[in-house]
């Protein structure tokens, strides 16, 4: 006879409510884990997207993400000719806000040279950029669809393809366009300004710099040797892919990451206390029944089984409800919520440990109960 299940069935409504409450708490914990992971994944997405081996940026900077970087656009040709370089592509990044239908989109514009590194790796829908101007490939999170047109700067662009998971460290979804369009978007002046500049005799458009050059090396080439060689040039600096990722995590999103990490720690501690309190209270409410069980001859293992099984069922149900809820709502969050099976498994492990520890407190109280208290009426 399983006393734990019988007791749960007896107070099913209350138990289900308790599980649901715990499940909501677990939803918050899982959401925070997902937000934390999402923050890191978003930050790394922009660096990982071009599948680069080396980033060539402005000397003395940690660009193009942690700091602004500006290098001559023709640096790409120079870099591409170096030994060990398989291919190189100039790239540009900027954030723009653009009206679209009845809302304003905040977009992370990536300008790249089609046919060279820097563009989207996988097109989820539609096609890649096929013409030199006025086409773009957008991340799905922009809400743009293939065939939509959007005004960026002074030009109207047509969405020809969609990608997924492309964004900057702030979570702004990316759009890809040709480097030429991106440079024009960055530097082109409004007509009135152009007229003023023309009257002053200054050039209307200056578009000779890019943010970085992305390098893919030939198989067997030494990244460290290449970066060391590039650093010998006074106007350029070179960062390996790993260094670029470390810079992003250590500087760009470090404070946000630590903030969420700390909050997550507090949330886990609060959850542990709540679970412990629920289980302890559940046990304390049953002390008279436990005394009766002891009096009629129930061995300790029966009483321990009753407490431990109930707490594990409670914890498991709370975890399951939390996981179900977060999987249902995670896509509603404005930023990515990334839940890895490992995180979910670790949380399950933590809940089991907390439940067992809390049961330990309950079991301790139960073992101290004098069976004579059952006789007291």
């Amino acid at each position: 006879m399983n006393l734990a299940l019988k007791d749960i069935r007896h107070g099913l409504f209350r138990f289900v409510l308790t599980c649901f409450g715990l499940g909501l708490l677990m939803t918050v914990v899982l959401a925070m884990i997902g937000i934390y992971n999402g923050l890191v994944a978003d930050a790394l997405a922009v660096v990982e997207a071009p599948a680069a081996d080396v980033w060539v940026v402005e000397a003395g900077t940690k660009g193009p993400f942690a700091e602004a970087s500006s290098i001559p656009a023709d640096s790409r040709d120079t870099v591409a000719r170096m030994p060990g370089v398989a291919e190189a592509g100039a790239i540009n990044y900027q954030t723009v806000e653009a009206p679209f239908l009845d809302r304003t989109l905040r977009l992370y514009v990536v300008g790249y040279e089609p046919g060279r590194p820097g563009g989207p790796q996988i097109i989820a829908e539609g096609r890649g950029i096929g013409t030199s101007h006025f086409e773009l490939v957008a991340d799905r999170k922009t809400g743009l669809l293939v065939g939509d047109t959007i005004l960026l700067g002074r030009s109207r662009f047509t969405v020809v393809g969609l990608v997924e998971g492309a964004m900057n460290s702030g979570g702004d979804p990316a759009v890809y366009m040709t480097l030429a369009d991106a440079m024009a978007l960055q530097t082109e002046l409004a007509p009135a300004d152009q007229r003023v500049q023309a009257a002053r005799g200054a050039g209307a458009v200056k578009s000779a710099s890019v943010a970085a050059v992305i390098v893919r090396i030939t198989p067997g080439a030494d990244v460290d040797l290449l970066t060391a060689t590039l650093r010998q040039w006074k106007h350029l600096a070179a960062l390996s892919q790993i260094e670029q990722e470390n810079i992003l995590l250590a500087s760009v999103v470090d404070k946000a990451r630590r903030q969420i990490g700390l909050f997550l720690g507090i949330l886990l501690a609060v959850s542990a206390v709540v679970i412990a309190l629920i289980i302890y209270t559940m046990t304390m409410e049953k002390l008279k029944q436990i005394a009766t069980l002891k009096l009629i001859g129930a061995p300790d293992r029966t009483i321990i089984g009753l407490i431990v099984q109930q707490s594990l069922i409670l914890g498991t149900a709370g975890w399951g409800i939390g996981l179900t809820l977060i999987l249902l709502v995670k896509d509603v969050f404005p930023r990515r919520v990334v839940l890895e099976p490992f995180n979910v498994a670790v949380l399950a492990g933590i809940i089991v440990v907390v439940c067992l520890a809390a049961s330990g407190l309950g079991v301790r109280a139960a073992m101290k109960v004098d069976p004579a208290t059952a006789l007291g009426g």
Binding site: D7, R9, K288, T292, I296, G297, A298, L375, G377
Partner: protein
């Protein structure tokens, strides 16, 4: 084992709490023998030591000194002689409480069969025995009902069935009729007498209920921890 065998043999049992000026003697050199088939009432004012004596016989309270033999098996002689007192209770002793103390999450039948489950009976046999006892106590029709839905008399009869389930030979009852009206109290006592006779068991009851005194074979009076009258 048969009617007349000594089932409870309490020899010079004493129990005191505290020491020196704070010492309280709950029991002083109590000797008591109860035989199979006997139904005995433990009487006395509050604080006289009735419940203390019942708890010592039920192996849930350590005596300070003395010797206790249950069903021919010495269980206490200056110290407990058995480590598995709960098993001893399960096998030899049945408890009936003032409040029925049925487990609220089990049905009447499950409350009875739980004892048999703990004693290692096969589930089917346990269910059979529970049904047999509940039918015998005329509450068989209430077997699938939870205690909250039983009347006081029905709950007490289920509690009696639970106490008797594993066929213990010593039944300890603490105010078993306190929650019942006089008619039901007498019915319960008649039932206990009948069971004691049929199961060759003894019944030791703490009670203040004068209406049922005529149902006992012996009335044992306790005052200030001493047996004063038997």
């Amino acid at each position: 084992m048969a009617i007349g065998d000594i089932l409870v043999d309490v020899q010079a049992v004493a129990k005191h709490y505290g020491d020196g000026e704070t010492r309280v003697d709950a029991l002083r050199q109590v000797d008591l023998q109860v035989r199979a088939g006997e139904v005995i009432a433990l009487l006395g004012p509050s604080g006289s030591g009735k419940t203390t004596l019942l708890n010592i016989i039920g192996c849930i309270l350590d005596p300070s000194s003395g010797r206790v033999v249950l069903d021919g098996d010495p269980v206490y002689d200056g110290k407990w002689l058995r480590s598995d007192l709960r098993r001893l209770r399960l096998d030899k002793i049945g408890f009936i409480f003032q409040a029925h103390n049925l487990l609220p999450f089990l049905t009447a039948a499950e409350n009875v069969s739980l004892v048999l489950d703990l004693a290692g009976w096969a589930p089917e046999k346990g269910k059979e025995r529970a049904k047999e006892l509940l039918d015998y106590l005329e509450v068989g029709h209430r077997a699938p009902v939870k205690p909250a839905l039983l009347s006081g008399g029905e709950a007490q009869r289920v509690a009696i069935a639970r106490a008797l389930a594993n066929r213990p030979r010593i039944i300890l009852a603490d105010e078993p009729t306190a929650a019942l009206d006089s008619k039901r109290a007498q019915l319960v006592m008649d039932l206990l007498r009948k069971l004691a006779s049929e199961q060759e068991a003894c019944i030791l009851t703490v009670t203040h209920d004068e209406k049922i005194f005529d149902r006992f074979d012996r009335l044992i009076h306790l005052r200030d921890g001493r047996l004063t009258d038997d």
